[in-house]
């Protein structure tokens, strides 16, 4: 598996396809901290939110890296299609790490925050970045490795999912019945409520329920992707 991840990282690096999303993300982080004395949690929330479409972009780029014949050769060496998917996810986890570390530590190093960083704020910061990156990987995988990937408008549909995720709350406020449909989209606002309500809420009961819901959503998401991927590759 390690060799496959190295193979993926080298191929992805040489393809240069990571440059546009990574550049956009770094630029966003620089802009977010162009001014000093910014609030900690909402700033982390803003950089974490962008990690969702950025990791979706990275995921789709990584899954579209190989031609069919290259993928078939890799299947034969990996001896399992499941390992291929797992290897891709591991590669994405490694790819997201520098982005995540940069957006967490850049404002700390440049003393951009108003007030002193507490352990809770730091933890929430890391948590929201990881969760938004995971949303991107789930949605990106859905539109790259399942039967939805072969559809003509997979990139557009994936972008639409991101837009709907961010506008879900407004849509539900306008038409309450939509909550029965929109639960299927990543629960962006359950995560954002953590950074929007300030410190001291992370261990609240309602907040805990939200967090459990989000983690459950991601676990179900990653689990469902495996048979959908296997179906496409059959």
């Amino acid at each position: 598996m390690f060799a496959f991840v190295v193979y993926q990282l080298k191929s992805f690096g040489l393809s240069l396809k990571f440059i546009p999303p990574a550049t956009l993300y770094f630029a966003w982080v620089f802009l977010s901290y162009a001014y000093k004395n910014v609030p900690i949690l909402s700033s982390y929330g803003s950089t974490a939110m962008l990690l969702y479409p950025i990791m979706l972009w990275m995921t789709m780029a990584l899954f579209h890296l190989e031609e069919e014949s290259e993928k078939h050769i890799l299947f034969s060496h990996l001896t399992s299609k499941g390992r291929y998917l797992l290897g891709k996810w591991l590669t994405l986890s490694i790819t997201m790490t520098p982005l995540l570390l940069f957006s967490i530590f850049y404002p700390i190093v440049t003393s951009s925050f108003k007030g002193i960083m507490s352990f809770e704020s730091f933890f929430i910061g890391v948590y929201v970045h990881v969760v938004f990156a995971a949303f991107g990987i789930v949605v990106g995988t859905l539109f790259s490795t399942t039967n939805l990937a072969s559809k003509k408008y997979s990139w557009l549909t994936a972008a639409l999912v991101v837009v709907v995720s961010f506008s879900a709350q407004s849509m539900i406020e306008a038409a309450a019945f939509l909550q029965w449909v929109l639960w299927i989209f990543p629960p962006v606002f359950d995560v954002l409520s953590l950074v929007g309500n300030g410190e001291g809420i992370f261990l609240n009961t309602s907040s805990m329920m939200n967090d459990i819901g989000v983690i459950f959503y991601l676990m179900i998401g990653f689990t469902i992707l495996v048979p959908l991927y296997r179906k496409k590759e059959s």
């Binding site: 190295v6 290259e70 050769i73 034969s76 060496h77």
Partner: protein, 271 residues
Amino acid sequence: MNVFEANKARKTINGNVILEELTLTISQGERIAITGENGSGKSTLLKLITGIYEKTAGEVQRAPLETGYVPEHFPETIKLKLQEYLILVGKISGKSKHELTNEITEYAKRFNVTEFLHTPLKNCSKGTKQKAGIIQALLKEPDVLLMDEPLTGLDEQAQTELLTQLHSLEKKITVIFTAHESYLIDAFAERILQIKNGRLVYDSTKLNQEKGRIIKTTVPTRACISAIQAMSIKWHGESLVELTVSANESDHVLTLLLKQGCSIIELSEKR
């Protein structure tokens, strides 16, 4: 031991039936050529045997063996250098870098690609890429080697080298390949499968096949050949006929035809 078994298997892709009513058993150590026209389903059958594809209906069973796969067209977009690529895929299969370096040097010499070892694959010629495809499969030392049109793009020397490599494989290794060219089929295959419109229409062990000869002749009357024991008779118009006869009987048949005033147009070996 059976490497692959299919019972009335069907494979559809995007709603199109590619393979149908496939009943086939492949035993360990067999050397099989899959033939057929373009689009007949040869590559799909090969991928079904490898496990790249799964059946849509029917039954398919594969032995849990290591498989090496050579695609018909080696990927065009790999930017890694040839040696780097081979080391990485070899490592994925669980080999050490040291072991791989020695083996790659040896295969590179045999397939005449040493000078391209440090060239990005994307910049290599089609033939070199095809050789890379073969080397990566051989490096794996598979129990079952599957090759999709392995001679495509290979020069004569590489074709001979591939054949030498295949002959040097242990007898227990199963080799299955698709091919249009008779070169590899005649020189290596012991069993031929023919696919037509997704169906297996011919399956024979070449060693057990009766050798035959094809006689093309013009006849004064159709009655002239009524006494001839032929494996098949094919008429082309009123007086031109193509007879397939047993190799042992061919001299006798030729004498008979000449005695009856027939004119021999062509005599050839049946493949």
